[in-house]
Symmetry: C2
Subunit: 505 residues, 2 copies
């Protein structure tokens, strides 16, 4: 059953054998950037097995001349003392187009600078769900957000986007995908069933003026990369809505699961978000404001964003809904795509050409569709991506290494770097790109060595241990303000937040 046996283009008749073999193969990947020890080994294994399995031929471009790299690097050096963002422009007269009202047809190639900036904003909101997540299985708060919603943007340096967090989202899942949940080793932990899964935020008055409307953002946390269970999530379709639409069972499970006996999921992630969004939309509409809903996420988070958009369109009428997803896998069948379209949801999928996650689960099912009798609707898989696509190419950036790098290709920071540098499919990397290149290596090893940026550098000093007055290394108690609390996360806070917005304005 060695992975190297899988060296044929078409899978054999015995599909169940093939699936289990495939699952054994795709188990390798890093789930979290913070656990780099394990991940490196796993990544290498995955790289090998995936390339065996998919017959991936790594396209090797002509090597860049050293002159090019050197001049780019000098450029980076100079940029150390420049701002990381271009000046903000007023987009109040064109926000509908930027949100995709006409399908982005003429804004993507070349990429409109104002759209680029907005994509990066939403991408950084998605990135925040990784950066703030407590991955430490020795922490009693493992699986929660490390900061309270009032501190989140400030702690991550995202204040400048001009949004306030209104609500945290928690999710659990069916018992059949338990590996998805990040769990504490500690008996007496904050929650046994739920994980922090994202947040709802609202643009403040200043930002709302600039962007021409009150923007409600939902940011969904994903997983850094797929593992065995990630494939599992995608192996069964389930109906959604009244018609023929079907979506993947596992994603829907995470989105919809709840249990009365839990602390954070007496209501499902879906219910939490819909309730918060509905209230916010109504509140601002009653005040006569234009309102938009923008739903973002990376990887699994991108899939949840699409489900969330579908449902929001059904339950929260008369508000423009836009999805900005990064490296998201397919979510549903053709009927689902059509319904989403009919409901007016605009979806912009940002995809890195070399990243295989957006090709999931099709990468397997595509080639042996008729074999999977137990999966309904597989014949429709091939076309079930929704909306417009912005396709990026790793080879476009002079800062990125060549060579197969599954983790690097899928990393959200790689996506954001490539968006920042993208001008058009025909032009080279944008010389005025100002986003900090070092961010790319936060949770992967993707930057050329000449940049001297350490690999997987996003890490806490001494893994969170601090030396106390007695010289003992201890894990400090979390700031009470940042300790998760089911009551504090409750609904009344949404209004409290809005009130304080108004007082500030």
């Amino acid at each position: 059953m060695a992975t190297t046996n899988i060296r044929h283009h078409n899978f054999p008749i015995n599909s169940s054998y093939q699936i289990s073999n495939h699952r054994t193969t795709i188990r390798a990947f890093q789930e979290v950037a913070h656990d780099t020890q394990k991940s490196s080994k796993k990544t290498t294994r995955l790289a090998e097995s995936i390339s065996n399995m998919l017959h991936l031929r790594i396209e090797k471009p002509a090597p860049m001349s050293l002159n090019n790299i050197t001049s780019s690097l000098v450029h980076v050096e100079e940029k150390h003392n420049t701002p990381t963002l271009s000046p903000k422009e007023d987009i109040s007269d064109k926000w509908r187009q930027i949100q995709g009202s006409s399908g982005w047809g003429d804004l993507l190639d070349p990429l409109h600078p104002c759209l680029r900036r907005e994509i990066l904003k939403y991408g950084e909101f998605a990135q925040a769900t990784y950066d703030a997540f407590d991955f430490d299985s020795f922490s009693e708060y493992c699986g929660s957000c490390r900061f309270s919603r009032n501190n989140l943007f400030n702690k991550l340096g995202l204040d400048n986007h001009g949004y306030d967090v209104s609500k945290y989202i928690y999710a659990m899942s069916h018992v059949d995908v338990p590996q998805w949940l990040k769990k504490s080793h500690i008996m007496d932990s904050w929650s046994k069933d739920s994980n922090w899964m994202g947040y709802v935020a609202v643009s403040d008055d200043k930002e709302s003026r600039r962007i021409g409307r009150r923007d409600i953002v939902v940011a969904w946390r994903g997983t850094v990369a797929p593992t065995e269970w990630y494939e599992d999530l995608q192996r069964k379709l389930e109906p959604i809505g009244e018609g023929e639409a079907k979506v993947e069972h596992g994603f829907l499970g995470i989105y919809k699961s709840k249990n009365e006996s839990t602390r954070y999921n007496k209501s499902s992630a879906s219910e939490q978000v819909i309730k918060a969004v509905k209230k916010l939309v109504n509140l601002y509409k009653e005040r006569g404001e234009e309102v938009s809903v923008t739903i973002t996420g990376h990887s699994l988070g991108g899939a949840l964003a699409v489900l969330n958009a579908y449902e929001t369109a059904s339950l929260v009428p008369d508000v423009p809904i836009t999805v900005v997803s990064f490296g998201a896998p397919r979510v549903g069948n053709i009927a689902f795509r059509d319904e989403l379209h009919k409901k007016g949801v605009k979806t912009l999928r940002i995809v890195v050409k070399q990243d295989f996650v957006p090709r999931m689960p099709g990468i397997v099912l595509n080639e042996s569709l008729q074999k999977f009798d137990d999966i309904t609707g597989t014949l429709e898989w091939v076309y079930t991506h929704v909306g417009a696509e912005l396709k990026l190419d790793v080879r476009a950036s002079p800062y990125l290494k060549r060579g197969f790098n599954v983790l690097g290709y899928h990393s959200l920071e790689t996506y954001l770097h490539l968006v920042d540098g993208f001008v058009s499919t025909k032009s080279s990397f944008r010389t005025m790109a100002r986003r900090d290149v070092a961010l790319v290596n936060k949770a992967c090893d993707m930057l050329v060595e000449e940049l001297r940026i350490p690999h997987f550098w996003y890490q806490m000093a001494n893994k969170g241990l601090v030396c106390n007055n007695h010289g003992r290394w201890v894990k400090p108690k979390r700031d009470p303000e940042d300790v998760p609390s089911p009551t504090r996360e409750g609904q009344h806070n949404v209004f409290h937040q809005i009130e304080s917005n108004y007082q500030r304005a």
Copy 2:
């Protein structure tokens, strides 16, 4: 040539085949704690190959009762707010015995509390050479000490020992063991040839009064664990001194190498240390003080300490010389041991029973001595450990995991923890042991999970990157005071240091 082929007790006739095969096998290990990504993989590989090769049977003690562990853990919890060291006792009337004047015969089992405290002090001096070393190959100062000698103890929290650093030691090596050197990727680095290899320190007036003499310490940096090149260092004997004494070629190379064209090794490590020690001894002797020289080191550092003691005894007469080594391999033949003894050098070797490094290179050579025609004097290997031995057992500590852990067994922090808990071979772990247990996991994964101490936790925030005013992640310039400088490390500083000691006193 798979490693799993080596499954016989006696090596085959063709010794050269066997050696090269063996080298392939022992390549795995972690060299530095800071590069945990690579190391974890390597460690696992090594664990497997070593145990295959050596037919190591892991002794599995009866599992500890949960009650025991729990009560120990409660104990740890209570200790969070207690000092990490027992009160210091005056040992001015018994310092000669503690330094081994009578060979430690009656001080080791049970271990005399004052000796335990002194061993821990010297062990922490050795540990400092790891904790302060710049392992970052993207740093232009890779291979140097991260702090100047005036800041070293302060930055590492070792001020309380009452010593001042007088001199830094730098070493290079013969061209035939280049892998030993930790090198920067940066072209324009502080040094292309040398590594920081330790330091010379002197007890201050207060500590000198407590310990009954002016103590000159030489601390040698080792390597966290052996790799392929580590075996190489030990494959050839070379004469030392006038008689029959022979020591390992590789160790002597590191100790003795110099080159006029280098910045830091115009003189060898040996010359640097002997010069500094000689001057310090003479200076304090002229002032009528009692003086001692204590040389310490872990692993390779322990081997260098023995070489250094041999030479010091020849070149600096009439001063008691003591070696306190931790997990050190064998260094020389019987004649070398005898000469060392004759010169009056006292050597206390602290050894963890499960650690295989102190058994090197004997672990291989022992079993096929007559086959190695090219190695002179191999027949004497078996007996060439020198001095007294304090043998520790990993199984004695309720805080340490059971199960094979090559890296954990060899880690200096594991040694110090076991010294702290050692009462006698017949008694259980010392309940009053106060050293911070968390330190054990600095660079390994050795503590029971119940303690909730992260594995390999000794790490810098964001690998040394900091966010500048523009939101860019950059590597800050090293504090000018901590930038290595061949002139600043020069000889005149020794006296400068002494003067300032006097002014302070």
